[in-house]
Symmetry: C2
Subunit: 327 residues, 2 copies
């Protein structure tokens, strides 16, 4: 691959670190299945292998990174617990990882977070600190929590142990599906995409890795074009897991190892989600459908290719979801 | 089991016939997975094993019975093709089975059948004959088709080869999940339930088989109580796969081998469906959720038991489905 042949940038995570992360988290996560649909293949004009992280613990790939981050803390770090700011899947994943190791998890969430997400964190015994729904309030509240508890901040994506954990999803896909031409992962903060690109580099290298992103949140596309991290856009897309900006760890890995970012419309996301429901008979969240959406939007690029798509998660508010079909 | 110890009624399908049916259809169907959810178990107070026929070919267990019926036709029968009246999963399943053997399938459907179902049959090259949406018109049209084509009528459930094929779903569940205390299957015409009961009798016998049915379509419950086939009720339930009356083959098997029929409300069906979506992350049709609905509605009966539930299918009109959550 051209982008790896003359790789000057020193990758911050090694092959053996990803192997170690995968071995470390294995007892705590599912090896999720890879599913196919003859009808989707026919429609897409290519051979698609869906890595089903919607079946992962807490319903999303985030379990992998959070688990690895917690398992690599020292004894003295563990005793202080972990903390993060997240209203999404990372919050649940971190609370679950902490509860498995019997350490506290402190989660900063906006007070208007949906009850279902609040309950999910509580169910894993996470302690919630509510804040105003602004980035500044989140960071301030997290700082207060850290000062009070000395807990270890586990960033949702800009953390090397988290990235090494997320890399295990693509590693499994590569092991289970030989000779892929493309691997697609959705991109929000870039934890999954950078991990996917690292696993392709170390364990496959024959595939092009592509990031998939809604037009309405195409800061990763812009960042690649501009060569610097562009801030996330206002939250307009239904793919609510993809609203964050790239991080200082994730962006350089993506620049080095990802071929390109492809964008899709909201309608394409809803159509892809509907196809996954109707043909694969599985539940995915909107953010998970962007990979299929960009494949269907770019038929000539993927024609007759062997394509792996990571379905990142399956957590969605059913009632909110119905209304998306009005798009 | 008391209902089998002193079985006087001569079962019309033998153990070896079910084994032969299973072996015969194996190349053409999926061995579907059995899934579990720790959270659903906690909520239900028992250990539930979900047999996922939503992942079956054409999205429903009906592929099994239709395939077996077609594969057991003689050469001269095959040359004339097959026919049925159905607007549901059996129509697709029969059209698919016929197309795999390169014989014609003639399907009688009401002219107001949803486009998605018409297209599904056409996609398998089934030839559709439209009729008025009444039982009389269906039967008359089917008769005309049979006179014209001499095709073999494959009844959706009141056919021994169909029942033997449906029995393979419970046979797989029993093979994959040892020592079940209960096996639940939804009951409409009784093809799946009678097949399930036969497989339990021949391959397990330790479990009680229970039929699950909406109150709004509880003709099977009434039939068991009255000791004779009670006609189906007006189509009011969202479980639109369970609207048919029991058949002359299915009812005696159910009388002999099924412990009882349990009913559930529409709200219980919707809640069960939502749990399956949110916890198992899989798509099921309303008719498939009645098994879980009756388990949740009868906690004391199932407490601490090992329960197998057949999720019968995953074909639903997404838009129609959303509105069901207004129940």
């Amino acid at each position: 691959m051209s982008q790896t042949d003359n790789l000057k940038y020193h990758l911050p995570i090694s092959k053996s670190e990803i192997e170690a992360a995968h071995a470390r988290i294995k007892p705590y996560i599912h090896r999720t299945p890879v599913l196919r649909s003859a009808m989707i293949d026919e429609l897409a004009g290519c051979e698609i292998h869906f890595k089903c992280e919607n079946f992962q613990k807490v319903g999303a790939f985030k379990s992998r990174g959070a688990m690895n981050a917690v398992l690599t803390l020292s004894e003295s770090e563990l005793s202080k617990g972990v903390c993060t700011h997240s209203s999404g899947n990372h919050a649940q994943a971190l609370a679950r990882a902490a509860s498995l190791l019997n350490i506290p998890a402190y989660i900063v969430m906006p007070h208007n977070a949906p009850a279902v997400k609040i309950n999910a964190v509580r169910q894993y015994k996470g302690e919630i600190f509510f804040c105003e729904p602004t980035q500044a309030a989140r960071e301030k509240t997290l700082e207060t929590v850290m000062q009070k508890t000395h807990a270890n901040f586990i960033h949702p994506y800009n953390n090397l142990q988290v990235i090494a954990g997320q890399a295990s999803a693509a590693k499994e896909l590569i092991e289970d599906t030989l000779a892929l031409d493309y691997i697609l992962a959705p991109v929000g903060g870039g934890g999954l995409l950078s991990g996917t690109a690292l696993s392709n580099y170390y364990f496959c290298q024959n595939a092009c890795v592509i990031g998939a992103e809604p037009y309405l949140a195409n800061d990763a596309f812009q960042s690649m074009k501009e060569g610097k991290i562009i801030e996330a856009l206002p939250p307009l897309t239904i793919a609510d897991g993809l609203l964050t900006s790239l991080g200082t760890f994730t962006f350089p890995i993506i620049q080095a190892l990802v071929s390109k970012i492809l964008n899709c419309t909201e309608e394409q996301i809803v159509n892809a989600m509907q196809l996954i429901y109707e043909r694969l008979k599985i539940v995915v969240e909107p953010s998970a459908a962007v990979g299929l959406a960009v494949v269907l939007a770019n038929p000539s690029q993927f024609k007759d290719q062997k394509v792996g798509i990571i379905l990142s998660g399956g957590n969605l508010n059913l009632k909110a979801f119905y209304s998306s079909f009005e798009v």
